[in-house]
């Protein structure tokens, strides 16, 4: 028999169901509600975050060890001079160098561009680096510049730029009292351990140490006997006055200031660039050996490959090159 759907029946049904539902809800009141787990988790995360925030705030208020050292006036400043020029890997090189330098307290980075004016790429990079810096620029004369197909050893690089940095340092020293400070010529493609900066910090005149992967050898460096440098261990032209790589020595600022004529000589023979500066400043006997009497390698003369962008060139010819607004 088919039951007729009367509204009366429907309402009766609703009434019964609601009553049952009410009973069910009443029963649930006494039970432990599972949803509190979710709330507990949120509360826990919030309190964890609050605790961390407190810790971080306290940490910021207390100066970190390296910050204390940075403010310590008795710690000599290291002036790192980096000549640089525009090429594909420039931003990458400067980025990873800046991340290394950022660990060193009381360091001032002098970046000198081979350019008639400062470029936005370097300017912006330095601004966000977190380092104390000076941004200089001086173009290499056209006839002295390496051409695309020239081998890298054909003409000396970075000469005008390093000399410009020394000019700025002398000017700065003349304006303010020269405290103990040291100057280091750090190219943007080498690799530096943090220890090398601590080794050079207390240089009195010129300090030296070995450099890895240079001169066609695993490393090149001074040979030390009785605490003095007696000769240099190198496989190439050992008769040079100072057969040492740019990354293998540091000069005290006082010495740079005391010899206003001392500079890198652009007309020097290949491999003699370092000597052209050092022979005007110091003799071999006066050199201060570092890095455990020159037995540890703390800096490497790494070189970065030129990226192969043949496909880019093809695309550019077709008018489909990559977006040049995207800085690489």
């Amino acid at each position: 028999m088919r039951m007729k759907l009367k509204l009366k029946t429907v309402f009766l049904l609703y009434f019964v169901v609601s009553l049952l539902g009410l009973f069910y809800a009443l029963m649930q009141l006494g039970q432990h509600c599972d949803c509190t787990d979710q709330l507990l988790l949120k509360d826990r995360t919030v309190s964890q975050l609050r605790r961390e925030l407190q810790k971080l705030q306290e940490a910021f208020r207390k100066p970190s060890e390296s910050e204390k050292l940075s403010k310590n006036p008795s710690l000599p400043t290291i002036y790192v001079v980096t000549p640089t020029y525009a090429r594909l890997v420039q931003k990458a090189e400067l980025t990873r160098l800046s991340l290394t330098l950022l660990h060193v307290p009381r360091l001032h980075w002098i970046v000198v561009e081979d350019s008639p004016q400062p470029t936005p790429l370097v300017r912006d990079l330095l601004a966000v680096s977190g380092l104390a810096y000076t941004h200089l620029h001086v173009p290499t004369p056209k006839d002295m510049k390496l051409q695309e197909k020239d081998p890298t050893w054909l003409k000396p690089r970075g000469v005008e730029q390093r000399n410009e940095a020394m000019r700025w340092l002398r000017e700065m020293a003349a304006a303010a009292a020269v405290e103990q400070a040291v100057v280091y010529f750090a190219d943007d493609d080498n690799t530096y351990s943090l220890k090398v900066f601590e080794e050079m910090r207390f240089t009195q005149r010129v300090s030296v140490w070995p450099v890895g992967l240079v001169g066609g050898m695993r490393y090149e460096g001074p040979v030390v006997e009785n605490g003095k440098v007696v000769r240099f261990h190198t496989g190439w032209r050992p008769s040079r006055p100072f057969p040492i790589d740019m990354a293998g020595f540091a000069v005290s600022l006082r010495l740079v200031v005391a010899h206003p004529g001392a500079r890198f000589d652009r007309s020097a023979q290949i491999g003699f660039l370092e000597s052209s500066l050092l022979q005007g400043l110091v003799t071999m006997k006066e050199l201060e050996p570092k890095a455990d009497m020159c037995t540890k390698i703390l800096v490497w003369h790494t070189r970065t490959e030129k990226p192969k962008i043949k496909r880019e060139e093809i695309m550019q010819k077709q008018g489909m090159g990559s977006d040049l607004n995207v800085e690489v």
Partner: protein, 324 residues
């Protein structure tokens, strides 16, 4: 007329029931979420280079920054395969300088070697980083012979797979610890901004990489909805994932939830290595574009020149005891 009334009653009956059932259904689903009470703390057994070493070395390296460890920030697990060659120590040194700036980072360094070498062990110990040091040797038959003679023998594959295996053995799925995995080769250059982009990865995130594929940079193609729909590359853009190893990061939970996903190394064409892993984990639609919708370059595929050691001669000119 009776019919219309019937229909009305039926609607009146069914509608509220549908509402009730849908509400109930939602509640029951939330109850079924994995039980968060399982809060087992995993102990990192192989990390010889623990954070506590930082104190002893902060006097030697005046510059070490003590980064407070966070319990809430997801950990970035960096997997780096490495092999012995003259520039190895230099490459790893500058990697360390970069990683020291990144909080909550765990470095998994895997050597292509039968045993862990002293050079790398010491370097890791002195670094002050949280790390795990593993090693596995690529069988000779798979090692690249000569300069790119066989470009489809992928380098570092076995080492990356070992790191993935270690992660799966060390961590439980659905644990509270959030993490992201990134494959970082030892000769690339990374900006600090990249790591913060990586950290916010839910499944797999992607971004442009400079100097790969013969271009200034390679990048995913993003549509107006902010989703990846293709690859802006010249070299084989029809690969499932035409992206470099340095151009993506994977959420740790995703790695743990798919324990069969590894890099393939037999029969993998050049450039398809990344795809061999990613296609087991994710589809194109699931990719999360980073670096301002893939318009900024935050990582560069730099390569270091092989140093020319001509002056060493046959017998070696320099003292072999001095480590470079």
């Amino acid at each position: 007329m009776v019919r219309r009334r019937d229909i009305l009653t039926i609607v009146l009956v069914i509608l509220p029931w549908m509402l009730l059932i849908s509400i109930w259904h939602q509640r029951t689903v939330t109850h079924l979420l994995p039980n968060q009470k399982d809060d087992r703390r995993h102990i990192l057994q192989e990390s010889v280079c623990g954070f506590k070493h930082m104190e002893t070395f902060s006097t030697q390296y005046v510059s070490s920054r003590h980064l407070p460890r966070s319990d809430v920030l997801p950990v970035i697990y960096i997997i780096t395969p490495t092999y012995t060659r003259p520039v190895q120590k230099a490459e790893l040194t500058r990697q360390v300088s970069t990683f020291l700036h990144v909080p909550n980072l765990h470095w998994i360094l895997v050597e292509d070697s039968p045993k862990r070498t002293a050079l790398v062990s010491e370097l890791l110990l002195k670094s002050g980083l949280n790390c795990t040091h593993l090693s596995t040797e690529t069988p000779h038959s798979y090692k690249p012979r000569g300069p790119s003679r066989d470009s489809h023998i992928p380098r570092g594959t076995m080492q990356r797979n070992l790191a993935l295996k270690w992660l799966r053995e060390t961590f439980q799925q659905n644990s509270q610890q959030q993490g992201v995995v990134y494959f970082a080769d030892d000769d690339n250059t990374y900006s600090l901004e990249l790591f913060e982009e990586i950290r916010a990865t839910h499944k797999v995130s992607v971004w442009p990489v400079a100097f790969v594929g013969g271009l200034r940079y390679e990048s995913p193609k993003i549509n107006v909805f902010g989703k990846v729909y293709g690859w802006k590359t010249v070299f084989d853009p029809h690969r499932p994932f035409a992206i470099d190893m340095a151009g993506f990061a994977i959420n740790l939970q995703l790695i743990l939830s798919k324990p069969q996903a590894y890099f393939r190394f037999r029969g993998v064409k050049g450039g398809y290595q990344e795809s061999s892993l990613l296609r087991e984990l994710v589809t194109l639609q699931d990719l999360e574009p980073k670096a301002a919708n893939c318009t900024k370059v935050l990582v560069w595929h730099t390569r270091t020149e092989k140093p020319v050691l001509v002056n060493e001669g046959k017998k070696g000119f320099t003292d072999p005891n001095i480590e470079i």
